[in-house]
Amino acid sequence: MAVQALSAAAAANNPLTKATAQPLAGGTTLIDLMKLDVMRPAAVIDINPLARGWSAIEPGSDALRLGALAKMSDVAAHAEIERNYPVIANSLKLAASAQLRNMATLGGNVMQRTRCSYFRDVSYENCNKRNPGSGCAAMDGVNRMHAVLGTSDRCIATYPGDFAQALIALDAMVEITGQAGTRSMPFAQLHKPPGDAPDIETTLQPGELISAFAVPGRWPRSVYLKARDRQSYEFALSSAAVALDVQDGTIRDARVALGGVATVPWRAREAEALLKGQKFDDGLAQRVADAAFADARGRRHNSFKIALGKRVMTRALQQAVTMEIRS
């Protein structure tokens, strides 16, 4: 296996079109999984030479554009993002560790793979995601970290990232560059729930790269709340990305996404519908949370995530409603 560097000029004859080639950004997911023998790419293409064009952080007056090769740490610490998109800044700040955030890119972040222990240990045969058709060891195994929303009878693995919840909540678009040029689609269409084919995780085609994310609007009233086993350097047991537009006590627009509990970045649209046009109170928050988890399904060790997810979501809503906005 060889590592090749990809230059902008080489994009025409893109070596990534081979299904077994993998782009390498920060490497913090890819290299780990290669060492574990979970991912066995025939070729690894270093996309960091594209960084000059692909790592810009561009807050505009009415939108935000983030290059896919921007580092998590740079985006998290950006003053305008902290001010106008706290949900983005905090989803990044509360993720991984300082060292990882310095290496990891936004594109790699949204493409990170599940932390399901059975997926990451090839000595377990039964993993439909890694070994299609082999069964799912987690279903009746140790599944405390697993998902309660968006699961299928083939796979219950959690989508582990934080940042994607902020993107999906804010109706972000993802910009995709491939041989045919650049296309743009809602970020919500990037990840695929496991369904019958948990091995297919995204709608990206071989040869396609994420080049940027675009976030419409500004969301100063937004929150990312993350519950986890330790105070830092740990994936979410449950998280909520909440963005509100509140005028005179009435919620004009509401965005809610959930992390740590679902198989994909999870937009809680039922919750949003209940919130819109309402005045916030705790009773509403409770109804909204119940609606968001109405279809949740717990298993042996992870049922607690349903109640936890509701409480995290409720608290995030309360925080977003009461937060002071610096203008």
Binding site: K35, Y118, D140, A227, D229, R230, Q231, L308
Partner: protein, 763 residues
């Protein structure tokens, strides 16, 4: 929390910086895998994916096809090794399950093949391509699994000699005014030292050098010799630094003799670096335990009856157990005591020592129960301990050599602000967080073992101390150097220390917190031999003792209390009189009450530990008290412990800096054992699931913002010449109970099963 080293109090040495600090922070410290080898080959392990059954066949074609593969060793072609008995049965091994002996598989992750290649990468790649067909048998995973067998520990584990009892428990409990019966569980835990379980072996003709992080170089040398069937003196084990042991490197694991055998066959040095997850199954661990405690007390809080029943998991062939009832039945005054320890055999690798093996799980049970009793009595838990404090242990009535338990409680309570606590559960909060305070006692037996040392003094004061002790991160180099400098009256910078090499004079296993007491006592003794020689050369007549003291700054027989010469020796003069350029002394020290065969055992790699409750007419323990503040989030139920305060008394504190560091690490680990650490077992197949450092949670800095260690001044003349009680395993005991007691205070909810996770909280 301050970063500065604590000022020494009475009976404490100087807080000198670590001997090896610069080497460690600059990366110059050479650990076993850093040792240069001449043209090594690299080994990578293949471990079993089932816990029980047999290997039907291997398909090695793919693996052999990887460029650079030299050999693949399986049970079909492995070097023949002799068996080694379990350390507790007079052997050296931490397990009697010997891999690569047959097609049988006895536990998850058992070594089933070793791939040897020209590079680490090639070996790992080929190992990934080894295909194995098994016939699997349903294994028993743990306590509740079908197929386990249970029996009393007494009678099957040679080191577990008694189930302590005294008086008539049943009658006293029956009549007690206040009663408590409660069950407690502790989880499986793995040491996860930073340094992986690496081994390098290099032969020179018939002589073998082993580079391996070990807590017992003499044990390893003799154990490997036994397995290879060669003279132990042909083996040398070298490890000047060990990247954390915590008990995991105390006894021999099967990997070492296997790698030595392969190196011999291939006639090439071999370097093995296993992975983190392999470390979960090729070494030992802390097994899960279950407890039932019964306490009976009078209304004024006096214990009248105490029963502690414990159960522990072990492997099928080995009856390992920690049996902490030896401590919990003796901690408080109580006239009627009963206890029982049993072992449950499952299809697991053999467990072993892990930092404070008996005390961590057993004091969790007792110190949680004491808190529950205090609640029943409507009494301050500190006062309950005071009422039941004792100078003599209740089982044999022997006096504690010293016991500063209540002094520790009082000091720690003051520093913590215990008096600010409003005792009612759920009565304290801060914003989103419910706040709880909790406390618990800690104790750890004071143990010693025979040790030898060699000390060499030159006329310019340069000193070299040689002792096969172990620098496992505790500060062994530093305190050995301090001891020699103080005893000989030479400047600390002139003392060089050599440890971690089986060619040096034997020291005991770095386990049971005996190292400081044992090695420093031996070093003191040998330094005194040097002083004697110099003194005799200067002052042939005994009557001139005082004069000699005045002129050269030493007395003939230094008091064991004052581990320090009064002033610098006039070495030039002494050496002139002696007519020598160098004075070198070797000596063998053994603690009071050491068995007759102690020195013989010391040379053959068996440490005869004495101390704790097993002394003839006394009992020796170090004590401490720990207070914690716990916060439980009302919404997320996240549990954090922002403040840990411990006060400890452990005889002479050789170096307050290194001591504090040990105790701080202990408090952090204690918190971790309550809130974070647990190895998850897939009950269906008896396999460890979270066997990596991302899933096996240990604390990060943000989890421990406030850790305060208070060292109490304590003098104990009844334990060993150094006057030191081991403290490496003191602070991580009891913390788990203190945390659960604080969670009760914060939430009103009593949690009796570790670790406590947010889903266990019902606010």
């Amino acid at each position: 929390m301050t970063a500065a080293a604590p000022e020494p109090k009475a009976n404490m040495g100087q807080p000198v910086p670590r001997y090896d600090a610069a080497a460690k922070v600059t990366g110059r410290a050479t650990y076993a895998s850093d040792m240069p080898l001449d043209n090594p080959a690299y080994a990578f392990l293949v471990t079993s994916a089932i816990a029980k059954g047999r290997i039907d066949s291997f398909d090695l074609d793919d693996a052999r096809g990887v460029r650079g593969v030299i050999d693949i060793v399986t049970h079909e072609n492995a070097p023949k090794l002799k068996e080694s008995k379990l350390f507790s049965n007079g052997g050296y091994a931490g397990t009697t399950i010997q891999p690569l002996k047959s097609a049988d598989i006895a536990h998850d992750g058992q070594i089933i093949a070793v791939v040897v290649a020209e590079s680490y990468e090639a070996a790992r790649e080929a190992a990934n391509r080894v295909k194995v067909s098994y016939t699997a048998v349903a294994p028993s995973a743990s306590f509740d699994s079908p197929g386990t067998t249970t029996a009393a520990a007494k009678g099957q584990n040679a080191q577990f000699k008694e189930d302590p009892e005294v008086g008539d428990f049943a009658k006293a409990f029956d009549k007690a005014e206040v009663k408590l019966t409660a069950s407690y569980d502790t989880p499986t835990q793995h040491h996860n030292p930073m340094e992986l379980f690496t081994t390098s072996c290099a032969w020179m003709g018939d002589n073998l050098v082993i580079y391996e992080g070990s807590q017992y170089v003499y044990g390893l040398k003799n154990g490997v010799a036994e397995q290879l069937g060669i003279d132990p003196d042909k083996i040398r084990v070298v490890n000047p630094y060990v990247g954390g042991g915590f008990g995991s490197r105390g006894s021999m694991t099967p990997r070492t003799a296997i790698i030595a055998g392969i190196a011999k066959r291939l006639n090439r040095p071999i370097k093995l670096v296993p992975t983190r997850d392999q470390g979960f199954t090729i070494a030992t661990y802390r097994a899960e335990t279950r407890h039932e405690i019964r306490l009976g007390a009078s209304r004024d809080g006096k214990l009248v009856a105490l029963r502690h029943e414990g159960a522990e998991v072990s492997s099928r062939p080995d009856a390992y157990c920690v049996g902490g009832t030896k401590t919990t039945t003796r901690l408080y005054a109580c006239p009627n005591v009963d206890s029982l320890v049993s072992i449950v055999r499952a299809d697991r690798n053999t467990p072993g020592f892990m930092r404070s093996p008996p005390e961590v799980p057993y004091l969790f049970a007792l110190e949680s129960a004491m808190d529950e009793l205090a609640v029943k009595l409507n009494m301050d838990p500190v006062e309950l301990r005071r009422i039941n404090d004792t100078t003599n242990e209740p089982i044999g009535g022997k006096p504690y050599t010293s016991r500063s338990l209540m002094a520790c409680f009082d000091e720690a309570a003051k520093a913590f602000g215990w008096s600010q606590r409003s005792p009612q559960p759920k009565s304290m909060s801060d914003g989103d967080w419910l706040v709880g305070y909790g406390c618990a006692a800690t104790c750890y037996p004071t143990q010693m073992a025979p040790s030898a040392a060699r000390v060499r003094l030159q006329r310019d004061g340069r000193t070299r101390v040689e002792i096969a002790g172990h620098e496992i991160g505790t500060g062994a180099y530093t305190i050995i150097a301090q001891t020699a400098a103080e005893r000989l009256g030479v400047p600390l910078e002139k003392v060089a220390v050599l440890v971690g090499d089986s060619e040096l004079p034997p020291a005991p296993v770095a386990g049971g917190s005996n190292s400081t007491a044992s090695t420093c006592s031996a070093v003191m003794m040998v330094c005194d031999q040097i002083r004697q020689r110099l003194f005799k050369a200067l002052m042939p007549s005994d009557s001139l003792t005082d004069k000699a003291k005045e002129t050269v700054g030493i007395s003939q027989a230094p008091s064991t209390q004052v581990a320090k010469s009064d002033r610098p020796l006039d070495l030039e003069k002494a050496f002139d009189e002696l007519g020598a350029g160098v004075v070198e002394e070797y000596g063998e020290w053994k603690p009071e009450g050491a068995p007759l065969d102690s020195f013989k055992a010391m040379h053959s790699g068996h440490a005869r530990l004495v101390g704790g409750h097993a002394m003839k007419d006394k009992i020796a323990y170090a004590f401490g008290a720990e207070f914690v503040e716990v916060r439980v989030n009302r919404f997320t139920h996240e549990i954090r412990a922002p403040r840990l305060v411990g006060a400890f008394a452990a005889g002479r504190i050789m170096n307050p800096r290194t001591a504090r560091s040990q105790l701080m690490g202990g408090l952090i680990w204690g918190m971790s054992s309550a809130l974070l650490e647990a190895t998850e077992i897939d009950q269906r197949n008896a396999r460890y699931v979270n066997d990596n450092l991302a899933d096996y949670l240990v604390p990060v800095n943000a989890d421990v913002p406030g850790v305060e260690v208070i060292l109490l001044s304590e003098q104990d003349d009844h334990i060993n010449p150094a006057g030191a009680k081991g403290l490496g395993e003191l602070a991580n005991v009891g913390t788990n109970a203190a945390i659960c007691n604080a969670i009760y205070h914060a939430t009103g909810q009593r949690i009796r099963k570790l670790p406590v996770r947010l889903e266990n909280i019902e606010v």
